[in-house]
């Protein structure tokens, strides 16, 4: 049987404070940015943290396997790689899942959230150009039968450089 394409997220309503070691927390907190561009970056991190490269690699692999991190790598800025928008739909409860599935089926959609509001589906579309972006929005509107509200970015006031997980 094929594995599901998207790993299910744990229920949002349960609050679990995961138990992590100090070293794990430091790797999560301090290396959301500034990952070394050097021949042996994990060894360099290990030197900064006063531990071994093998342990750093081992911890990162475990954090990844357990889903605490999705990856170690570059985070791209959407506006620089094409054109994107945040869009929302107001869908009736009985059609919500169907509409959500239609939206998620597009490879141009990288975020799709259900939110508590009359506008209850919120998704980000990133396409190679404006034509394709509009095409995806039009198709979603036609296929779901719901009017799409598109809210493209006009200005960003904060550059996301990660944020403190533990203070």
């Amino acid at each position: 049987m094929a594995a599901p394409a998207v790993k299910p997220y744990p229920s949002i309503t349960t609050t679990i404070e995961p138990e992590l070691s100090t070293l794990e927390k430091r790797l999560l907190n301090e290396y959301q940015k500034g990952f070394p561009l050097s021949a042996t970056p994990y060894a360099d991190i290990a030197a900064e943290l006063g531990t071994s490269e093998a342990l750093v690699l081992d911890i990162l692999q475990r954090l990844k396997n357990q889903g605490f991190i999705s990856r170690v790598g570059p985070v791209l800025k959407p506006q620089r790689l094409g054109t994107s928008t945040l869009a929302a739909l107001a869908v009736s409860a009985d059609k919500l899942q169907q509409a959500a599935d239609i939206i998620s089926s597009y490879e141009e959609v990288n975020h799709n959230y259900e939110r508590e509001h009359a506008f209850n589906l919120w998704f980000v579309v990133t396409a190679k150009d404006q034509n394709r972006l509009q095409e995806v929005l039009d198709e979603i509107q036609n296929r779901t039968g719901c009017k799409v509200m598109s809210l493209p970015l006009e200005r960003q006031y904060h550059i996301d450089l990660g944020f403190p997980l533990w203070c």
């Binding site: 800025k77 506006q79 975020h111 006009e154 006031y157 944020f163």
Partner: protein, 169 residues
């Protein structure tokens, strides 16, 4: 490949590097060497191009990408604000400077159904924590806050890292 990118001087190697790294760097001793082999280049060139893309703002940061939900941040609240258009710049900068706001954006209004022009993503362990933080924003904005709402997510239906659009060469 006839993919056009707005205002982005990406060369072929840049694109190949993005495609080879967007799912993550390998967790091996020499990750850039592994990437270089994939894209037919040298580790030095891969690092140089990644540095260049970071300087150009194409790459926002390089590092561990935490999954906030799994880490216990379950109170992802999208706060939306109606502030006077002539004050949006000042308000946006004030809100964007708060350390608990991960994203702050000016987006267009769609009256009459949608009158909000400022978006601020607020993270907390639970809804109470998010609401306390939203109250701090409201106080900070004072009379520029002509109305706000917090939209909590009830389900993540899809979340993937941003991919290079339009091609999986």
């Amino acid at each position: 490949m006839n993919v056009s990118y707005t205002n982005t001087p990406l060369d072929d190697l840049d694109r190949a590097i993005i495609q080879a790294t967007q799912a993550g760097l390998p967790l091996t001793n020499r990750p850039y060497t592994a990437i270089a082999e994939k894209v037919g280049s040298t580790p030095a060139q891969v690092m140089e191009h990644m540095q260049k893309m970071q300087n150009q703002g194409i790459i926002r940061r390089i590092g561990a990408v935490p999954n906030h939900y799994v880490l216990g941040f379950r109170g992802n609240g999208m706060s939306v604000w109606d502030v006077p258009d002539e004050r949006i710049q000042t308000c946006g900068e004030m809100v964007g400077a708060l350390d608990f706001v991960s994203h702050a954006y000016h987006r267009p209004r769609h009256p009459p159904l949608w009158n909000y022009n400022l978006f601020a993503m607020v993270h907390g362990h639970d809804r109470d924590e998010v609401m306390q933080k939203v109250e701090k924003i409201a106080k900070l904005l004072g009379e520029d806050d002509r109305g706000h709402e917090v939209l909590f997510s009830t389900r993540i239906l899809k979340k993937t890292g941003l991919r290079l659009p339009g091609g999986n060469s």
